[in-house]
């Protein structure tokens, strides 16, 4: 992390000087006033210069991208990361040959990684980011799978006129199922159990 101390006639001038030296803009830095300085009598006697300490803020999104690359490299998987930021939502799309290792059975490795990346990104952050980790379009494919599963299970619950419980899924996957069946009048969905065993139950509406 880069950090410098700058001085000027006023705090404002000191900050400006620091910005020039670091070649950056105001939203990229943190300012710490060491001494506000004094104008002095008639600008002649007893004047003191203002001192500020300026620290470059870390680019957390970029650092997290490096973190993902470090992890995957140490898992012996060569990948490229494409990072997209939309407001407070960050998507890291992983691309590479041996991506299956990173996805794991039913995406469990990818979900574990996503959870760790989420923690790493938000640890030192003053605002909360939500993170999606995607691998070669896995999330999109999984969404389609879950939507067709939802339809199949809804049909089953109507046919048997009984509740049908699905296997445990993480929150964002349950959400896909809930929204897939939300418009249907003949079935209702609800989540039961405690994380990480929380699962959806589909039941016919009477």
């Amino acid at each position: 992390m880069r950090e410098i101390t700058a001085s000027g006639q006023t705090v404002e001038e000191a900050v400006q000087s620091a910005l020039e030296q670091l070649n950056t803009t105001r939203d990229q830095i943190e300012i710490n006033v060491i001494d506000e300085g004094k104008k002095g009598l008639l600008g002649l006697f007893g004047s003191k210069r203002a001192f500020v300490k300026v620290t470059m803020k870390k680019d957390l999104v970029q650092e997290t991208e490096n973190f993902i690359k470090d992890i995957t490299q140490q898992m012996n998987v060569e990948i490229d990361v494409i990072t997209k930021v939309e407001g407070k939502h960050v998507t890291y799309e992983l691309q590479g040959d041996n991506i299956a290792v990173l996805i794991g059975k039913r995406g469990q490795t990818l979900n574990a990684l996503q959870y760790l990346v989420n923690l790493a990104l938000n640890k030192d952050s003053d605002q909360f980011y939500s993170v999606t980790l995607d691998a070669e379009g896995y999330r999109g494919r999984r969404k389609e799978t879950l939507e067709s599963l939802a339809e199949k299970m809804a049909a089953k619950s109507i046919r048997l006129n009984k509740k049908v419980a699905l296997e445990p899924m993480p929150a964002f996957e349950r959400k896909i199922i809930h929204s897939a069946l939300q418009k249907r009048k003949d079935v209702s969905t609800s989540s039961h159990g405690v994380e990480p065993h929380r699962h959806i139950v589909i039941q016919p509406e009477t």
């Binding site: 973190f67 470090d70 992890i71 140490q74 898992m75 012996n76 290792v101 990173l102 794991g104 469990q108 490795t109 574990a112 990684l113 959870y115 760790l116 923690l119 790493a120 640890k123 994380e195 990480p196």
Partner: protein, 75 residues
């Protein structure tokens, strides 16, 4: 493998200098023992061991050179 564990844990804790990972090789498995600063214990275990579980999932997914089973011991 040791580096992988260290990379993951470093990103989670407040005192990365206190991370110690030791490796013990047994007959059919390799045991990695992880210890962190007292204040950071919660950060590597998490509520109901959720973080610990995620670390293990990622670590177990990585292939080993020897093909032996890996076991991660936390604290």
């Amino acid at each position: 493998m040791k580096a992988l564990i260290e990379t993951i844990v470093t990103s989670l804790v407040d005192h990365p200098e206190d991370i110690v990972v030791t490796e013990t090789e047994e007959n059919e498995k390799v045991v990695y023992h992880l210890s962190v600063n007292q204040e950071d214990v919660g950060k590597v275990i998490g509520k109901n061991g959720r973080i610990a579980k995620a670390i293990r999932t990622v670590v177990y997914a990585a292939k080993t050179d020897s093909g032996k089973r890996i076991y991660l011991d936390i604290m």
